[in-house]
Amino acid sequence: MANNLQEKILEVKNLKTYFHTDAGVVKAVDGVNFDLKRGETLGIVGETGSGKSITALTILGLIPIPPGKVESGEIIFEGQDLLKCKISNLKHFRGNRISMIFQDPMTSLNPVFNIGNQLIEAIQAHQNLSKKQSYDKALELLDMVGISDRKKRMKSYPHEFSGGMRQRAMIAMAIANSPSILIADEPTTALDVTIQAQILELIDGLKKKTNSSVILITHDLGVIAKYAERVMVMYAGKPVEFASVNDIFYRPLHPYNLGLIGSVSKLNEEKKERLKPIKGTPPSLIDLPKGCTFALRCKFAIKPCWDSFPPTIEEEQNHFVACFRAKEFLNGSLKRE
């Protein structure tokens, strides 16, 4: 689906977002590069603290400054660098052309207003519509996200909704102005499995219907396998592998990605193969080791790995990897075991 001819709707280049804390500088996002195409779902995976949310929040301009600071980079959306945009123009993009679905719906729903008012407000903030038109539009949005009994639901408050319904209401808010990019940060982690499936199907369906793009941040490799077309794997603030979903799962070239795949149990597996965990835990982002950030946990580390961070190389077409040993995996001289 997503191929090179497709239009790039977003390009993030060498993005760095640091937090200046008393304990030191936290390099939360440290040189992130990716592009997003129209109509595609891009998955971002990585361990807790690897910089997934901060990447998303930087794109949306939601980093608390201070202690946060965007140190460098470009975020090119519809031909403009959002990092160089005037504040007044930014409002047009953020929350409107690019919007976000959070893990906790209460981060974007206000407990003291009913759902209808919040939807109408979101619509009127960016569209020149009358009260009546906005009301109708709000009803339409509730329909799109699968909330029934809509007129009554317009008058309900968030606390009267179940977790799944709140998530639906937040999605309605997020798509109120037909954004071209929807960033979903762990949109279903707090929900029950059967409700998770409903919400992910909803997001995927909306994406297809409106030909918008989705950035899907999750820990769940199953969710990635099901919905993502391309995947960026992050480790300690840096992308370490970026490729099509099939390459990520069937031809992994970075030892961290390899380890991640070896760590999950698969529901369909008959033989109980022992899981192959990655040893150790991620490093602190304050005192990052000099070389490859993964070297401490990596069973393939060799001398150069301790000296400098490996450059990101397109090892095969559209398959980007930052590892000194990726070539050996690729040509078969090093076994992935």
Partner: protein, 336 residues
């Protein structure tokens, strides 16, 4: 087959209702939360019995009942053939030693002001086992078994990562050499790569010390990986019990089918071909659970009888040994 000497724990017609004070909730007619409503299962010595189900279905309540942290509304719990609800104090003390628990949240379940040495030795002190020196030896030995550095006894929980803290929790559960460990979502709070470390550790310990596990989780892939048999709960009821492989291959209850189908498998090609069943609607409240079969409002196979009568948990021997389900149309495929 089930026989007296292989069964370690058996739960019979166990119920726990939490009564709501009127006026506390706005709904005056609110009576009780049927958190656990007449459940039956047994756990064999040395096996892992998995309990899965969505939030609020009663898994932790079942665990707390077995630990006797709360009193059941009715029912019986047999451990080594004895009903523990009728045990005398001294016998209860022994029971408490043989059954331990590991909690989900390694952050919340460890006191921040105690060193890990203190945390792990607490059970020894409660049960007055050993003296100071022998305890320290025992603690260091146990820390080593769970993969922690014994020299770290004097450190505090905040100095450890999530996975290491969970190892501390395991060490604490292990130190009394229990028979049964109840694991209530032991890896849910951990990163995938760390989850695998802990799961492997738990499997190794089980073999080494011949432990029996009751493994509670909402992640069916994890539960299937560690369990010999699995019970599926829905709104306070057990709707299906089967050996892990049979449950996956031949689910009989439509809820199990929906649950299995809702879980995406980390394999893109397979996932793109897979037909999914998306169960509609929300999980209802356990305060006024639906009549008849509690699953009927969400069930694609529901017929008239399902809202009127409650299906019993019955054996379906043609579907493998000891495969139980509570559904009038058990085994009927779901057509989307």
């Amino acid at each position: 087959m089930k026989s007296e000497d292989t069964v370690l724990l058996e739960v019979k017609n166990l119920k726990k209702y939490f009564y709501l004070r009127t006026g506390f909730f706005f709904n005056k007619t609110a009576g009780s939360i049927k958190a656990v409503d007449n459940i039956n299962f047994f756990i064999r010595r040395g096996e892992t019995f998995g309990l899965v189900g969505e939030s609020g279905c009663g898994k932790s309540t079942a665990a707390r009942l077995i630990l006797r942290l709360i009193q059941p509304t009715s029912g019986e719990i047999f451990y080594k053939g004895k009903n523990i609800l009728t045990l005398k104090r001294s016998q209860m003390f022994k029971y408490r030693k043989e059954i331990q628990i590991i909690f989900q949240d390694p952050y919340a379940s460890l006191s921040p002001r105690m060193t890990i040495g203190d945390i792990v030795s607490e059970p020894l002190e409660v049960h007055r086992i050993g003296d100071k020196n022998s305890r320290i030896k025992e603690i260091k030995h146990t820390l080593k078994i769970v993969g922690l550095n014994p020299e770290h006894v004097n450190r505090y929980p905040h100095e450890f990562s999530g996975g290491q803290r969970q190892r501390v929790g395991i060490a604490r559960a292990l130190i009394l050499q229990p028979e049964l460990i109840i694991c209530d979502e032991p890896v849910s709070a951990l990163d995938v790569s760390v989850q695998a470390q802990i799961l492997n550790l738990m499997i190794d310990l089980q073999k080494e010390f011949n432990l029996t596990y009751l493994f509670i989780a909402h992640d069916l892939s994890v539960v299937k990986y560690v369990s010999n048999r699995i019970g599926v709960m829905y709104l306070g009821k057990i709707v299906e019990v089967a050996p892990a492989e049979d449950l996956y291959k031949k689910p009989l209850h439509p809820y199990t089918m929906g649950l299995l189908s809702a879980i995406p498998i980390p394999d893109p090609d397979l996932e793109k071909q897979r037909q999914r069943i998306i169960l509609p609607g929300d999980v209802p409240s356990p305060i006024n659970p639906p009549s008849g079969c509690r699953f009927h409002p969400r069930c694609p196979n529901a017929q008239d009888i399902c809202s009127k009568q409650e299906p019993e948990l019955k054996n379906y021997p043609e579907n493998g040994n000891n495969h139980f389900a509570a559904c009038f149309f058990a085994g009927k495929p779901i057509n989307n």
